[in-house]
């Protein structure tokens, strides 16, 4: 397995254990982080503006969630809709 992906596996396994005792909001944050890291590894290998834009959105929203009192659900919806735009564009 690619070393970067192996690191993601470690991150997910450590998250799974930690989340048993952590606030429930941490779960979605860990998933966002994993998504961001997977895109990051992919875009390091080859340029992809759309994926990079999605990663930037995830990262900025992730920080916003951690640093401000904001509507977590709306932010997650916003990211998902951006992802769907990208998914459609890549499959059209």
């Amino acid at each position: 397995m690619n070393r970067d992906l192996l690191k993601i596996v470690g991150f997910l396994l450590a998250s799974a254990r930690g989340l048993l005792e952590e606030p429930k909001e941490y779960g979605p944050l860990r998933l966002l982080e994993a998504a961001s890291r997977i895109i990051g590894y992919e875009t390091e290998e080859k340029d992809d503006d759309e994926l990079s834009t999605l990663k930037n959105l995830i990262d900025s929203k992730k920080l916003e969630i951690m640093e401000k009192d904001c509507d977590f659900a709306s932010i997650l919806d916003e990211i998902l809709l951006k992802y769907l735009d990208l998914f459609d564009a890549k499959n059209s």
Binding site: K7, G10, F11, A14, G18, E33, E67, K68, D69
Partner: protein, 173 residues
């Protein structure tokens, strides 16, 4: 920088530059850690400082709470054996509080030096113990990332209703 300024301006930093933190700066920071107060002057804390890039990378993999790529990681541990032997009832709780106070010292001094920090507990204790070959008596409790930063995040809102001042009513506000 005044202490009050550091307390009010410090933020948790999750993006670091690649600038190295030199050994002397690190020693200064750690010296301030061990000058924190501790219950009964127990000093049951232990500090493990990691500057090696490959080890930092491994710790990051099993520490979901850490963000960015820091130049240094400080692992705050408690010597449980010593705490239980010398600290009496509640020793490990006290030691954890002591450790937190020592970490605050680190964060404030680091901030004065333009070094950002973030403290987390979201890491695999067992994974870390194995990775660093820690003895059973040494329990990792807090993990701090350190590195120079370019920008500070905005201050999240602070609740004012958490403070109660109980006086005799003669104190003018």
């Amino acid at each position: 920088m005044e202490v009050k300024e550091a307390i009010l301006a410090r933020r948790s930093i999750r993006n670091f530059t690649k600038k190295r933190i030199d050994q002397r700066t690190l020693e200064d920071i750690l010296k301030c850690a061990i000058f924190a107060p501790s219950a009964g002057n127990g000093q049951f804390w232990r500090f493990i400082c990691i500057t090696d890039e490959r080890t930092i990378e491994k710790v990051l993999v099993i520490s979901p709470g850490l963000h960015g790529i820091p130049q240094v990681l400080i692992i705050g541990c408690i010597d449980i054996k010593e705490a239980n032997e010398k600290g009496g009832d509640g020793a490990t709780t006290n030691a954890l509080i002591d450790l937190a106070m020592s970490f605050q010292n680190i964060m404030l001094l680091a901030f004065e030096m333009n070094i950002g920090s973030c403290v987390v507990r979201s890491f695999s204790k067992k994974g870390l113990k194995r990775l660093l070959d820690l003895p059973d008596r040494c329990c990792p409790e807090l993990l701090m990332s350190l590195g120079y930063f370019d920008s500070l995040p905005k201050c999240p809102p602070r609740r004012k209703d958490v403070i109660t001042i109980w006086d005799d009513g003669t104190n003018e506000s």
